[in-house]
Subunit: 327 residues, 2 copies
């Protein structure tokens, strides 16, 4: 039984918890929090609730530690700090900072003879794998990634910070004609605006200036200014009733040419649709946590990414069963 602990019990931590319950060779043993541990209401029975500040004293009780925190400030600090004492896995997703994060985590893991894996999930994660596989198979081609339809928590948060906004939910939506052109192998050149639209559902404070809110959203640099954005003002009841979930998804496409005269086209696509972004992300993390544990048993220490993991290590099944049922 692989003993898994979670640091950080938010949406993602709960997604990891429910994924662990679907895998009989793994179990959740500890949850670490910065809050008062007794305040946590953990749904799995028999899990120890502990303070993150005491985590070092549990180093012999845990096979893999899943670090569930934000990529802006939590993970750049926590993952390297914990990788010396634990086999760790995180879902670090600030693309531009991945090389630095990798180096920091790698150094700590090698110092402590541990295995770490950063940036697990679906993007980065499964989508990254698909980009790599299809680039290797079709070296002459273009790749495209579309996200959505789904809730972007970062964009929802950005709206909430506007004066007069009580709550908000933002959906990222791929432009159907762009996806279709890509899947048809047309290799279009697409601007940011041509790839995705953004749809916002906003609950305003009583008496707020709706025109100001709408303008502030649509003109917000980086988040909205480069997109066609629609803003709907709705009631808090409507938000809770119709937009409580965290669905997401997306599609990665590679379109390439083969043949002596590059006369043949091939298009490969990988598509995800999920009702729950944190549960799906948690499910990916749990499969890679199994691989991390197995690599630590083989003493293959250091920081890894999804690219380094032989797929067979993700599965709880025997090799014979895998050959028989999946090849």
């Amino acid at each position: 039984m692989i003993r898994v602990a979670i640091a950080g019990y938010g949406n993602l931590g709960k997604g990891v918890e429910s994924a662990l319950l679907q895998n009989e060779d793994m179990k959740l043993t500890h949850v670490f929090t910065r809050r008062n541990p007794e305040s946590l209401n953990i749904l799995t029975e028999g899990v120890k609730k502990c303070s993150l500040s005491d985590i070092a004293s549990y180093k012999n009780d845990i096979d893999v530690l899943v670090i569930c925190g934000g990529s802006a400030t939590d993970l750049p600090e926590l993952t390297p700090a914990l990788a010396k004492d634990f086999n760790v896995i995180d879902s670090f997703d600030t693309h531009a900072n991945i090389p630095v994060h990798f180096d920091n985590v790698n150094k700590a893991a090698l110092e402590g003879n541990k295995v770490a894996l950063i940036s697990a999930g679906w993007d980065p994660g499964m989508f990254s794998l698909m980009r790599l596989y299809s680039d290797a198979i079709l070296p002459e081609g273009n790749h495209y990634t579309f996200w959505g339809k789904g809730v972007s928590q970062g964009h929802s948060d950005a709206i909430r910070r506007i004066n007069g906004v009580k709550d908000a939910r933002q959906y990222t939506i791929p432009v159907p004609s762009a996806v279709e052109a890509v899947l048809n192998g047309e290799n279009p050149t697409l601007t940011t605006r041509q790839k995705h639209t953004r749809e916002c559902f906003v609950v305003a404070e009583e008496g707020a200036d709706l025109a100001f809110i709408e303008k502030s959203i649509k003109e917000m640099p980086n988040y909205f200014a480069d997109y066609d954005t629609t803003v709907h003002f709705i009631s808090e009841e409507e938000l809770l009733r119709d937009h409580a979930g965290l669905p997401h998804g997306g599609i990665v496409v590679r379109s390439g040419v083969t043949g002596l005269n590059k006369e043949c086209k091939s298009t490969v696509s990988y598509k995800l649709t999920t009702d729950s972004n944190p549960q799906f992300t948690g499910s990916v993390i749990v499969a890679f946590a199994r691989a991390i544990y197995r690599l630590s048993e083989k003493k293959e220490y250091g920081c890894k990414t999804v690219f380094d993991i032989p797929p067979v290590l993700l599965s709880s099944r025997t090799y014979e069963e895998i050959l028989h049922s999946f090849l």
Copy 2:
């Protein structure tokens, strides 16, 4: 430069050849044939044309040997025979016999301190990988594989063996409503007939009994009897004009549930469309041939499958570039 040789210069061998020309770190050095080597018209310059019976004398000149033969009789004999002297890769696709083939090849590769990889291509191959990944990520769910629209060479050959048939091309076509139900996460139970239809284009010999041919096709056990099959009689000119290519493709889908109460659905699908089945298969084989070479450098001998290969080994790019561009 990785020196790659091909044994068998048919459609697949030519697909491997053209894929090698798209990969700058690899080159085709030898083609082995059972025919008179001088009769081969090899399109890449500077390739040695050799008799398969002399292959053992080239064992120091080749890094990876791609064995392009049929799964019925060629590969079960050739791959184990050659795996002692060469790092080999094949596209063995008789699903039921994979475990036996694996054992035979593994024994030979371990004896000779070589690396082998069997069953590379898209199915078995990339589709197998997708089945494994998504089973590991979504352990509670169903998976589905649809093939086509594309030319099945086995079914085309079966038609050609009927009395009065001069030539034939058979397309395997997924039933659109079945694919749609699966992609919608409906988890349907589908019979063979509900998953695929078969469309046949037949050139009859002059004066042949068309009704007999049509009946023989539609009632052929294993190949057609369990499917809704359409037969079109066309002229040889039409066959050559409209059905000369070998397009194929397919889709692998997994639909699973997550959450403490299994309340959320996720659907993951991987779809391929290619104008040329042998070129795409050759492209996959070439990427895995690179991995095989690298494993042999690390002395990780024995028989492998796509499941054993860390994805990073497939790529010609540096790890830094992969982290930066794909994660």
